[in-house]
């Protein structure tokens, strides 16, 4: 026989498969677009009440100024945004303009699902130093920084007052002291209130690892080993025992909730890990003025914190969009026009365009002004910017949450959880 059986079978299967046209789907070049500027753009973002209002207003303003462009908004929630985007991308129906996150930009960028924005005239010339490159994957600019933020612990002074506990000094506190303060609040406040509702997520793990000389990710993959996270899981157990954090089942339910339903906004928690730009939505939902606190350090010195600036989110476009020029045009308008800057202010983070920042500074609410100042103030506490998670790394927070849930329910030991966590995270990286 000229072909052996295995070759024949493989060939036969491949023929069957190609009869369905499984050859490369030819991504990357974008569609033709229309020459007269008419466009129908699908615009997707995740948000909260404040952001949704701002975004709708900004979209309105843009379409009024560009009557030939129709924009269909697709608001969503962070928790379900990524599954939906994945399904849409797989079905070749990705939105034209996509609000992107650092966690997934490598995933989509490396798979050539995102448009090369510079090719179609993205203008980032006025952006502050260091805020552009986070959107580069394989040298191409696939995401435009939509706002700068930094990880923070939000504190509700009203709850502190209720518990009769003083606001801690965030420049000198350690992780242990955070635990003590939180436990104290839980004990004194009563009514089901806990000290800190959310602390053990991937951002804080990153901070913890950095303070111990490691990173979440490096160019070659995972930046830490199981031994490095055992102390993290130990800390989780300690916080749980001290009742500094809520019960295990409550934590599970919290993850699925929207911001205005989570414990800080509903007054069930004194502190919570959030990103600095979320302060406005939190204030609106809770009716209180949140205080922005630095996360703790191991040594007790804020300058050892290894903080960082993050592109809170980025504006990307689908590589298969039919309207690449119009999509980029809208993104340009979004980050470079005073009109848009005045609508969104600092809700998505501090504007990276220095001129826009200057323009909105006087208009910022007291909360956002405080945040802008916070971002300025922590400059001496910064260390190198963490790299974007490689493909398969975006879900590391979910993997960790599952192991943490098991630890808190007493189903596995911190040592075992650490090993399982690292094993699964590694096997996810592609």
């Amino acid at each position: 026989m000229a072909l052996n059986r295995r070759q024949f079978l493989t060939g036969g299967l491949a023929v069957a498969a190609t009869s369905m046209g499984l050859t490369a789907c030819g991504g990357g070049s974008g569609g033709g677009g229309s020459s007269d500027g008419t466009a129908d753009l699908q615009f997707a973002w995740w948000g909260n009440e404040v952001r949704n209002k701002n975004t709708a207003a900004a979209i309105d303003a843009y379409t009024k100024a560009n009557p030939k462009v129709k924009v269909s908004p697709q608001p969503g929630e962070f928790a379900t945004y990524w599954d939906k985007l994945a399904t849409q991308t797989a079905g070749n129906k990705a939105p034209d303009i996509i609000q992107m996150d650092m966690a997934y930009i490598a995933e989509y960028g490396k798979r050539k699902a995102l448009l090369d924005l510079e090719k179609y005239g993205a203008d980032v010339s006025k952006f502050v130093e260091g805020s552009v490159d986070s959107g580069r994957i394989d040298g191409k600019l696939v995401g435009v920084n939509a706002g700068i933020n930094t990880p923070a612990l939000m504190a509700n002074p009203k709850v502190f007052e209720k518990a009769g506990v003083k606001m801690p000094d965030d420049k000198t506190w350690t992780w242990d002291q955070l635990r003590e303060v939180s436990a104290e609040i839980t004990a004194k406040a009563g009514g089901g209130i806990v000290g800190i509702g959310q602390l053990f997520n991937d951002a804080m793990l990153s901070a913890f690892l950095r303070q111990h000389g490691k990173e979440l990710f490096t160019e070659s993959g995972l930046g830490f080993e199981a031994a490095d996270v055992v102390p993290w899981f130990d800390m989780l157990v300690a916080f749980g025992k001290a009742k500094a954090i809520p019960a295990a089942s409550v934590i599970t339910e919290e993850i699925a909730k929207s911001l205005d339903q989570q414990a800080l906004a509903t007054g069930k928690s004194a502190m919570y890990m959030y990103w600095s730009n979320q302060v406005e939505a939190l204030n609106k939902a809770s009716g209180a003025e949140m205080v922005v606190l630095r996360f703790p350090s191991v040594s007790g010195k804020a300058t050892d914190r290894k903080a960082w600036y993050k592109a809170s989110m980025l504006w990307s476009a689908s590589s298969r969009t039919k309207y690449p020029e119009e999509a980029v045009k809208m993104i340009n308008w979004w980050v470079n026009s005073p009109e848009c800057a005045n609508i969104n202010l600092a809700e998505r983070g501090v504007p990276p365009n220095t001129e826009m920042l200057a323009a909105v500074k006087p208009k910022l609410s007291p909360a956002q002004t405080a945040v802008a100042k916070f971002i300025e103030d922590i400059k001496p506490e910064l260390a190198n910017t963490p790299i974007a998670p490689p493909p398969g790394g975006g879900k590391i927070g979910d993997i960790m949450a599952r192991q943490q849930s098991d630890v808190l329910f007493g189903r596995t030991s911190p040592a075992d959880a650490a090993t399982k966590f690292v094993d699964e995270a590694k096997s996810n990286l592609k």
Binding site: L13, A17, K420, S427
Partner: protein, 318 residues
């Protein structure tokens, strides 16, 4: 005859003489043209919607395919990966527990209630409707949402328990010990459909068997074990096979109740849910295809075991 007894009874006549065989062949092809014309839509569907995708999915299971880029051949990598994939094992465990617990429970309840109703009582039609309704609604997203509320930390169930003075603070759907239980309960709640089938079957059993047994002094248990069960066995078998196949493919309730995550701690990570996560959430269509084929093997094996075992307890009287 039910689907399963059809399959058990399919046989072909093989006449002996050449002449008889020729005649049979001619008779067999008598309506060829009409037959295939009538069958055409189904045949097209079979090939295009079922067979080609089946073959293609087998091919894909040997590739790494993200849907955005072309598939790359990876040989047995996907299958090798399944051996080490702890979450896959967990999803198999969750699904098996679900099937092994919820199907017998549901069928037992269906049979029990059918027997209760089968005693020539008033209001039969009413009870039948009431018990049947949940099985119509059970597959809907609306009921899954209701279940999610009911078994949440502050949901209906806990509120009722608190009324009785119990300290009900567990969130049933957010505690890994109980979350799967709520889904099992949901499945058992839909016992109405098999119940109706059992009712119909019970009506077929001639009363004289029971009368004769009563005359002989048989106890209620004897009557059940020696008359009811054997005569009902084909129907039980039919329900068992189909319910098991269906349970292995459960998706909607798990997806809605856990918000697509299989939380808490993957305790509601049904196999199909994990497949969906990997294929449509992580751009791993090749792996999802491999998982799907594993499911075919598992369901096929379970069905084959069922058929094989049926020789020992299913009693056809024709």
């Amino acid at each position: 005859m039910s689907v399963v007894s059809e399959l058990s009874h399919i046989h072909v006549d093989h006449p002996k003489s050449a002449e008889a065989r020729r005649a049979q062949r001619k008779a067999a092809g008598r309506d060829n043209k009409a037959g295939y014309l009538f069958l055409l839509p189904w045949l097209v569907g079979l090939v295009v919607i079922t067979i080609i995708p089946l073959v293609a999915s087998l091919y894909l299971s040997f590739t790494d395919y993200s849907l955005i880029e072309a598939p790359t051949w990876t040989g047995l990598d996907n299958y090798a990966r399944m051996i080490d994939d702890a979450r896959l094992h967990k999803s198999l465990e969750v699904t098996f527990i679900y099937v092994i617990v919820s199907v017998p429970l549901q069928l037992a309840l269906a049979l029990g209630v059918a027997m209760l109703l089968n005693q020539g009582m008033r209001g039969l039609a009413f009870y039948r409707s009431v018990f049947y309704l949940p099985s119509m609604l059970g597959a809907s997203v609306a009921i899954a949402l209701l279940w999610r509320q009911m078994f949440g930390t502050d949901g209906l169930v806990n509120t009722v328990l608190r009324l009785f003075g119990l300290d009900a603070t567990t969130g049933w759907i957010s505690d890994p010990k109980y979350a799967l239980g709520t889904l099992i309960l949901l499945h058992v709640w839909t016992f109405g459909s098999p119940m109706v089938i059992f009712l119909a079957g019970l009506r077929q059993i001639p009363a004289m068997y029971y009368e004769a047994a009563a005359v002989d002094g048989a106890t209620r248990w004897h009557r059940f074990a020696k008359i009811t069960l054997p005569l009902l066995s084909p129907i039980i078998f039919f329900n068992l096979v189909l319910q098991i196949i269906g349970a292995f493919q459960s998706f909607t309730q798990a997806h809605v109740v856990s918000n697509g995550t299989g939380a808490p701690s993957d305790s509601t990570l049904f196999y199909t849910l994990y497949l969906y996560q990997r294929g449509f959430g992580e751009f791993e269509m090749g792996y999802a295809a491999a998982m799907a084929w594993l499911l075919v093997v598992i369901v096929g094996a379970a069905t084959a075991i069922n058929f094989f075992a049926s020789k020992y307890w299913v009693f056809y009287d024709d």
